[in-house]
């Protein structure tokens, strides 16, 4: 009776491995002329339910309809998005593996010196998807009430003010670095494990302020549970029309948004990329997508931004500017 156990386990593992080989053999025979004929995996390098995941699922639906095959979202979480991106970099370049990544694609080279992939050389950009604005918010007990007061308050009290963020490399961390860089101050940065807990302690008055995406802050701002100082985009946003921009408050350098884009492995044929770009364009013009993004305080990018060219330009630009800011932050 006992020896049967391990033998059976081995048989099961063998069967599974065989199945894997068959599947692998099938997928390597893909022909770009007939693309797409099979489900497409979309790697989201963050956990399910987070802002990037939500954005991905919003556009995956109409893109599936357009391409006639299902886009299946795979959450490959870890190390600030570098695990999922690394997986996508080495995936078969046949268009059946697509990566959705955000601003972290451009900050990873500066944050990780042992990065296993090159965001530019190992990927082909498909197009930008959305640029989520960020907002500067304070706890209900934090003294300043306007953005101007906020700026002078933290410049005068840099050694006592605390700033929450959602962990190294997170959007709120990046915005905080940019803010400190622009104002020439260094405040105490308090990291949390994700934006949810950070917002909780901000509402509870445990920390003074935070800079975070509208996806996380709009509800709290509307309910008056946090003080809102400014939005970090050049224009005011529709979801929060009364909130001034950082430029209006005299700080045009604090401009940041969490841009999202689609990528495929570098060797993917151009005709496949074109099909994906076209489907993305259709999805971004979908009224349902527009409405859902509006609820999150954001909007699809303009059609000329949802292209490989615009995406490549922005990526290159962002890698350079974040390299400087993150380098400066680590040096100081």
């Amino acid at each position: 009776m006992t020896p049967a156990g391990p033998r059976k386990t081995a048989a099961y593992i063998g069967a599974l491995a065989g199945l894997g080989l068959i599947l692998a053999a099938c997928s390597s025979g893909a022909d770009p002329a007939n693309y797409p004929e099979d489900d497409i995996d979309v790697i989201v390098p963050f956990s399910a339910g987070g802002p990037t995941d939500t954005v991905t699922r919003m556009v995956a639906e109409p893109m599936s309809e357009e391409l006639g095959v299902q886009l299946v979202v795979q959450n490959v979480d870890g190390a600030g998005g570098t695990v999922g991106a690394g997986q996508a970099a080495t995936a078969e370049p046949d268009g059946y593996t697509v990566l959705m990544h955000h601003i972290g694609m451009s900050t990873a080279p500066a944050l990780y010196d042992d990065l296993a992939y090159d965001p530019v050389a190992d990927f082909k950009p498909v197009g930008l998807v959305t640029e989520v604005p960020m907002t500067i918010v304070g706890s209900p007990d934090f003294e300043p009430t306007t953005f101007e007061e906020f700026v002078s308050h933290i410049q005068e009290n840099a050694d006592t003010v605390t700033m929450a963020h959602a962990g190294e490399g997170s959007a709120s961390n990046l915005c905080g670095l940019l803010l400190m860089d622009a104002l020439g101050v260094e405040v105490t940065a308090v990291p949390y494990d994700g934006t949810g807990p950070a917002m909780g302690e901000l509402v509870g008055g445990q920390v003074d302020f935070m800079c975070d995406q509208t996806t996380n802050t709009t509800g709290q701002i509307e309910a008056g549970k946090v003080k809102a100082y400014a939005v970090t985009t050049p224009e005011r946003i529709e979801a929060l029309p009364d909130l001034p921009t950082t430029a209006e408050g005299g700080q045009p350098d604090i401009e940041v948004s969490v841009w999202h884009g689609l990528y495929v492995p570098a060797e993917t044929p151009d005709e496949v990329v074109t099909q994906l770009t076209d489907a993305l364009q259709v999805a971004l013009a979908d009224q349902m997508v527009i409405d859902q993004m509006a609820d999150l305080g954001t909007a699809p990018v303009a059609a000329d931004q949802a292209t490989p060219e615009a995406h490549a330009t922005l990526l290159q630009e962002q890698i350079e500017s974040w390299g400087d800011i993150i380098g400066a932050g680590q040096g100081g």
């Binding site: 009776m1 006992t2 049967a4 156990g5 059976k8 386990t9 099961y12 956990s47 399910a48 339910g49 987070g50 995941d53 939500t54 699922r57 919003m58 995956a60 639906e61 979202v73 795979q74 959450n75 490959v76 870890g78 190390a79 600030g80 570098t82 695990v83 690394g86 944050l111 042992d114 296993a116 006592t160 605390t162 962990g167 190294e168 490399g169 105490t188 940065a189 308090v190 990291p191 949390y192 494990d193 994700g194 949810g196 807990p197 909780g200 302690e201 509402v203 509870g204 445990q206 996806t215 709009t218 509800g219 709290q220 509307e222 309910a223 549970k225 409405d291 859902q292 609820d295 999150l296």
Partner: protein, 502 residues
Amino acid sequence: MDLLDNLALGFSEALQWHNLMFCLLGVALGTAVGVLPGIGPTATIALLLPITFGFDDPTSALIMLAGIYYGAQYGGSTTAILLNLPGESSAAVTAIDGHQMARAGRAGVALAVAALGSFAAGTVATVVLAVAAPPLARAALSFGAAEYFSLVVLGLIASIALASGSTLKALAMIVLGILLGTVGQDLNTGTPRFTFGVRELYQGLSFVAVAVGVFGIAEILRNLHDPRSRTRMVSRVANLWPTRAELRRIVGPVIRATGLGSLLGVLPGGGHVLASYASYAVEKRVSRNPGEFGHGAIEGVAGPESANNAAAQTSFIPLLTLGLPAHPVMALMVGAFIIQGITPGPDVMTEQPALVWGLIASMWIGNVLLVLLNLPLIGLWVRMLSVPYSVLFPVIVVFACIGTYSLGQNPYDVLAVAVFGVLGFVLIRAGCEPAPLLLGFVLGPLLEENLRRALLISRGDPSVFVTRPISGVLLTLALIALVVAVLPAIRRKRDVVFAEDE
């Protein structure tokens, strides 16, 4: 009266035919994924999230997803009791005494007690949610890093009670667990620790992998090593239902655990993790025969299971009243709200009363459905124990690996199952118990994070831990618990009780 109006609105919403069906679907799915080791509620809700996209009624979507979550809390106890395979941290506590009961042929009783305790706790927690959500949520906000740190210290010290044997070995296991919890990227600086250049380890070891390894796989190895314990287990599957005396024994534990779980569940910074451990520690302390714990004490199943279910339900409070997700499952619920075009914020209760109260009412209905669903299944589950080991063991191993892999598509997690299986076996042979190790593993990161966070906020001044009133009280309790645990006189008595029981 407002409350009655709200509840009436909620029930009229939740009792609509289609919502009732989604509630049933949710709890049935939850039970199923809870029973399968590894595939937990987080993965299931993540998988089903896009499907809710097409639902016309947001209430149905949330009712179903919530049902999966608390349904999984029910189901999770099943494999923990029968196979010593806990799928999540709370079930690890149930496994301690629950599996001992199963090995003594009382699996049916353990399962019935778990279901009844969960139902009672779920009912009370629903009332708590309806009556006291806003004030509780406001109170929870006064918990900052210092308070969480002190709470975790109290939890760790109280958890020495988790071990039925040597206190020293229990302490060693807690420390080992804390060390394992440090694997991965440091939250403050992003520096990788103990990752040996493996990027897949940057997010730390997977809890499910460690738990399935040190409990489930180690149990299989132990069984293969010692055939005598196997035959005993299969031959004596008797009495499925608890006796009247046994029911009387669990009343106190269930009531205490419900109160404890309801309170801890509200804390958004990880209080729900502590609920079942805290209940176990309390029950062992107040029990007249603590020596029974670890050897199949019925209170050790009833308490933690009730606490866990109560906490699962009250952990919705921060989400519904403040728009703040308390843990990954709640973060997924936020995603579900957003997909339905509702931005969850502090106003969701006043802006969407039908949805929020419908969800609350559905939780009680879901608990009724779960009892109706689970009690008849107990006979079936118990019969599973008579499946020959040559079939059962490979199936468990395959399911455990698939489930663990499905969580993050990370092959290192599967490797971790194997490594921790062997480690767990070695620990059992050395007379060390895995439960304190798991608790250290879960609480270690919370301990470190909150310690560093509190000191950052206080600018390096450690006095905050005693000068902040809640934190000070918690640390004082921890000190008392420590004195009680190590006081030689009490310890000797403990050992005597333990020896008598053997």
